[in-house]
């Protein structure tokens, strides 16, 4: 089967139109029925599948990097009568579980990216709804900062998953109506069990939308709101966008090669080893060189490639259960890159790179594979790159030198950025999460900022799991990887997800840790996906048959 490709650009979109007008962008959803990712279903009524989301994700990314002048992004429908009918039900009914889970996860991450842009990039997303806005369509609206609903007696918002399909509004829906929109729980209960949804004044009264507008005034109101939001934003017209050119990659049996990243695949042990090609020098690191390099700037290049690789492995290589991270390059150079971004956070492009690295690290946290980082001689885990160490399920560090390797012993460098710039979905840094916000353990770590820490120090500080010398290294790593591959993939996923996200709950952690977990459970249950389940029976005219037992 052809691998699912996450690389696209506006010229190749099937389902969206991106219109730019000065500081306002319109993202018009106009799903092409016959361009679904797989055969066997038609994307009627602006329903979507993963392919539609891939384009949406691309558009959000481009708006941030290519169009810093944009202040407001309006989501609207290109079809009459319908805004969006949500995820395509026939697609859901026919997709295998692995695909379904990964599809929902990516959808959630894309919605989070809209909120991240609204909050941190000065690009506010708003939704203008005419027609039906149901299920995943309304969940999409929920991820924007402001919802305007046409008050025409037929336009409505709805979360019909429960009554219609016996599943949940699982891509953020339940969490966002309560935690974000503060809808009262009993009203939310009514709303989520009412198939046809809620319209007009009641939708506003219940806080399901922010504004209702008569059809005749709809466009004017949207414009007015847009203007108001733009005026509240600081002027960013001097900031230059860059172009995100297509990511080059070569896939073979033995791995994937990008420009700053190589992934070696070991199917026997079900391991994908990421080897990050770090910088070797930092002589001309400056804003000028950054602007000149554009998307070829090492950090941006790496982030895009890493992002693409993670998504590729998630969807196309479900059996590679362990991701091993290694890096090669000058640790001093990476530390300079780290200092450079810290010193230039007011630069649009720098800020976007930081945010993108943050999101990519979150994507890794949410990747249901064992994450293992190996710190060896010649590796360059410093600052932002060290997030791969702190975010790993286990990190191993070589103590001393290999017998035949003259290079300096392996080192690790912590920076202030590890504390400030890359919070996890729980809202705190990986280091803080690692040490459970225990200042007793965090303080000594903070004191080492900027120092090249060798294995023993890292072990003492609790930054790595185990250190091994040259004599033990190969054997210990081999045995560990073999052992990992022998465990049940399900229990590994469950174990890792539970251990990764200690600390506070946030809307994000609730969505991924609670809502999706429930949704994925329901997706496995006969009431939804059994032969007589509601999802399977959808469209046959027959209702689903339920096992009455509450579990």
């Amino acid at each position: 089967m052809k691998p699912i490709d996450f690389r696209t650009n506006p010229e190749s979109y099937h389902h969206w139109r991106l219109e730019i007008d000065a500081d306002v962008a319109r993202l018009i959803m106009d799903v092409s029925e016959n361009d679904g990712l797989f055969s066997g279903y038609e994307l009627k009524l602006n329903s979507y599948d993963l392919g539609v989301d891939i384009e949406l994700y691309d558009a959000i990314q481009r708006l941030r990097f290519e169009h810093p002048e944009i202040k407001v992004v309006i989501l609207e429908s290109g079809k009459d009568q319908v805004f969006c009918a949500g995820a395509n039900i026939r697609m859901l009914a026919s997709a295998n579980h692995v695909h379904k889970v990964n599809f929902c996860k990516f959808t959630n991450e894309t919605r989070n990216a809209m909120e991240d842009a609204t909050e941190h990039s000065g690009q506010v997303y708003i939704t203008a709804i005419k027609g039906t806005c149901a299920g995943g369509g309304y969940e999409l609206a929920l991820a924007t900062g402001y919802i305007i609903l046409a008050d025409d007696g037929s336009s409505s918002v709805a979360l019909p998953e429960v009554p219609l399909l016996a599943v949940l509004p699982g891509t953020g829906g339940l969490t966002r109506i309560t935690d974000k929109r503060k809808v009262r729980r009993d009203l939310a209960d009514v709303f989520c069990t009412t198939e046809e949804g809620i319209k007009g004044q009641r939708a506003k009264d219940w806080r399901l939308v922010d504004e209702i507008v008569p059809l005749s005034q709809f466009d004017d109101c949207v414009s007015a709101k847009t203007r108001q939001l733009c005026d509240n934003r600081s002027d960013s017209s001097d900031q230059q966008g860059i172009t995100l050119n297509p990511i080059g990659r070569e896939i073979s049996d033995s791995g994937i090669t990008y420009s700053t990243l190589h992934i070696a695949v070991d199917r026997n042990n079900k391991v994908a080893t990421f080897i990050i090609d770090g910088p070797t020098d930092y002589a001309d690191l400056s804003l000028e060189s950054l602007n000149q390099s554009g998307d070829q700037f090492w950090l941006l290049c790496l982030t895009r490639e890493l992002d693409d690789a993670i998504l590729h492995l998630r969807l196309n290589e479900p059996e590679l259960g362990t991701l091993v991270f290694k890096s090669m390059g000058s640790i001093a150079a990476v530390a300079h890159y780290d200092a450079f971004i810290q010193n230039n956070l007011d630069n649009h492009l720098v800020r976007e790179m930081v945010l993108y690295w943050k999101r990519t690290m979150k994507r890794l946290d949410l990747t249901s594979r064992s994450l293992i980082t190996l710190i060896e001689q010649g590796s360059c885990f410093a600052g932002f790159l060290a997030e791969l160490v702190f975010g790993a399920d286990r990190a191993y560090m070589l103590e001393g030198q290999h017998e035949d390797d003259e290079r300096e012993p392996a080192a690790l460098k912590i920076s202030q950025s590890n504390f400030d710039l890359f919070p996890m979905s729980n809202g705190i840094s990986r280091l803080e999460t690692r040490f459970h916000s225990d200042t007793e353990r965090l303080k000594p770590v903070q004191k080492t900022i900027g120092l090249a820490l060798e294995a023993e120090q890292c072990e003492t500080l609790g930054l790595v799991t185990f250190i091994y010398d040259d004599m033990d290294w190969d054997e210990e790593i081999r045995i560990f990887l073999e052992e990992r591959a022998s465990f049940s993939p399900d229990s590994m996923v469950g174990l890792e997800a539970n251990l990764r996200f200690s600390g506070p709950e946030t809307m994000e952690t609730k969505i991924f840790g609670r809502l999706t977990a429930w949704q994925n459970w329901i997706f496995q249950r006969p009431n939804a996906v059994g032969e007589d389940g509601a999802l399977k029976r959808y469209g046959t005219g027959k209702k689903g048959v339920f096992d009455p037992q509450r579990v």
């Binding site: 185990f466 091994y468 054997e475 210990e476 081999r478 045995i479 073999e482 052992e483 990992r484 022998s486």
Partner: protein, 480 residues
């Protein structure tokens, strides 16, 4: 070649290329001094400077595995010797049956294998600790030398397990190797892992019984591990078995010589009734019923070492192709045990009943059955000595449910004959089943050191032939 390498290869006879194995050498550099320290504090008490006529294995060839000579025990050359590698050996059982044997630890089974090694390894030094005071009451130089021979070989068995831990299990293995020296028999804080290895060995009859019954459990365990798909373990155990056979010889012949002495003394004194304990004891020999009670005790303690009759662990070890059955390769079945059953003696509604259990989970029971057969053969040889002396007495193995702490019969009182008794009745009859305090005190009175050349304590007959064909008055131990 560095000095280290030279000294290590002479110091430690081995067939594993020790001098070129940086990793193991480094680990041994740490462990070796700790081991010598352990030997000096926990090894034979009062004989560290004595010169003992010991056998040292310096290679696995027939010529090399039994080199005799005088040596001070702390200078003994504990070697690392594995039986020769069999070309093209295939895994003989379990899920991986038919695959090439593993020369490296499969990551999947690292934890399981490590546990097997640690459990086996823990028993080896334990008996040295249990037997450390026996020298003070040795009945002869010949016996003194024998207990020391057993001791140094148990020490070598510890080395064998430690080598595997250090060679194949990295840091965890090194830590476990250290722990093997930290745990001590009978220690309140860090005892040995298995019950029988925390019991005292108060006298020489106990020692011989231990060598007969408990070392035989060791033999059965080694036999099953010698089948392992992890080839270094299989080879190690195969070589250990040659030494273990000698330990059982010491036990069986030791008890045999005591029986011999008792019977011939009874004959000379004209005592026909073997149960006329008082009269017999006046002759300073140990009466046969007391010997039977000692056998009852050591047999039942050793049965506990086989673990629960029905055991998931045993099933896992087998299925993972790590620990096989006694004589696995000689058995004719599928060597997977997917669908077969094995009869297990159980307590069902208060009655002893044979119940068919899945053969995979009944492996402990099966190994125990093989062990019982093996013990019975030795008992028959003891009875032959009794009969040859014209005494009417028969030694019997007690029922497998007698005096058990582990498994099906842990909470039920069963007599040596296999009747289920009320707890009270069992307590009343206890001193007929197991050695009493009086029995112990009587034996203790007999235990007096005899170190004159060619002399033996009055309660034990001399052996038929000497060690290494030495004459009867050979000086097996030169006391300093």
């Amino acid at each position: 070649m560095s000095i280290d390498k030279i000294s290590y290869d002479t110091l430690i006879p081995n067939n594993v290329n020790l001098s070129s194995d940086r990793r193991v050498l480094k680990a041994l550099e740490q462990w070796h001094p700790q081991y010598i320290d352990w030997w000096k504090t926990m090894g034979p008490d009062g004989f560290q400077d004595a010169e003992v006529y010991l056998r040292t294995a310096i290679s696995v060839e027939t010529k090399g595995w039994a080199k005799f000579g005088y040596v001070k025990m702390p200078d003994y050359r504990w070697g690392i010797l594995l039986a020769p590698q069999e070309e093209g050996r295939k895994i003989p059982f379990g899920e991986h049956k038919g695959e090439d044997v593993w020369q490296e630890v499969p990551g999947e089974y690292r934890a399981m294998l490590r546990r097997l090694l640690v459990i086996q390894g823990d028993t080896e030094p334990a008996s040295v600790e249990q037997q450390r005071f026996l020298g003070a009451t040795a009945p002869s130089l010949y016996d003194l030398r024998n207990v020391f021979q057993v001791n140094v070989e148990e020490g070598r068995h510890l080395w064998a397990m430690v080598y595997l831990l250090q060679k194949y299990f990295g840091r965890d293995g090194r830590e476990e190797a250290h722990e093997l020296l930290r745990r001590r028999s009978g220690d309140k804080d860090a005892p040995r892992m298995l019950g029988a290895f925390n019991e005292e060995t108060p006298d020489w009859l106990s020692f011989f019984m231990f060598a007969f019954f408990t070392d035989r459990d060791g033999k059965m365990q080694l036999e099953s591990l010698a089948q392992s798909g992890f080839d270094p373990l299989a080879r190690t155990c195969r070589f250990m078995l040659t030494e273990e056979a000698h330990h059982m010889f010491v036990g069986e012949s030791g008890v045999g010589r005591i029986i011999q002495r008792t019977c011939e003394t009874m004959q000379q004194a004209g005592i026909d009734d073997p149960f006329d304990t008082e009269k017999i004891r006046q002759l300073s020999v140990i009466d046969l019923p007391t010997i039977q009670k000692k056998a009852n005790l050591h047999y039942s303690l050793s049965l506990d070492l086989f673990g629960s009759e029905v055991s998931t662990n045993a099933a896992n070890f087998y299925n993972a192709s790590l620990k096989g059955r006694f004589k696995e390769t000689k058995l004719t079945d599928d060597h997977r045990l997917d669908n077969t059953t094995y009869p297990v003696l159980k307590l069902v509604n208060g009655a002893l009943t044979m119940v068919d259990e899945p053969a995979l989970t009944a492996l402990n029971m099966r190994l125990r059955d093989d062990y019982v057969d093996d013990c019975a053969r030795g008992i028959r040889r003891w009875n032959k000595i009794v009969a040859n002396n014209g005494v009417e007495f028969e030694f019997k193995l007690p029922h497998t449910g007698f005096n058990r702490q582990i498994g099906q019969f842990a909470n039920v009182d069963i007599s040596p004959q296999g009747e289920i008794l009320k707890p009270n009745d069992w307590q009343i009859a206890r001193n007929n089943f197991l050695p009493s305090t009086d029995d112990g005190e009587f034996i203790a009175l007999l235990m007096r050191q005899e170190t004159r050349r060619g002399k033996f304590a009055e309660w034990i007959a001399p052996p038929k032939s000497g060690v290494d064909n030495q004459a009867g008055d050979f000086e097996y131990v030169r006391l300093s």
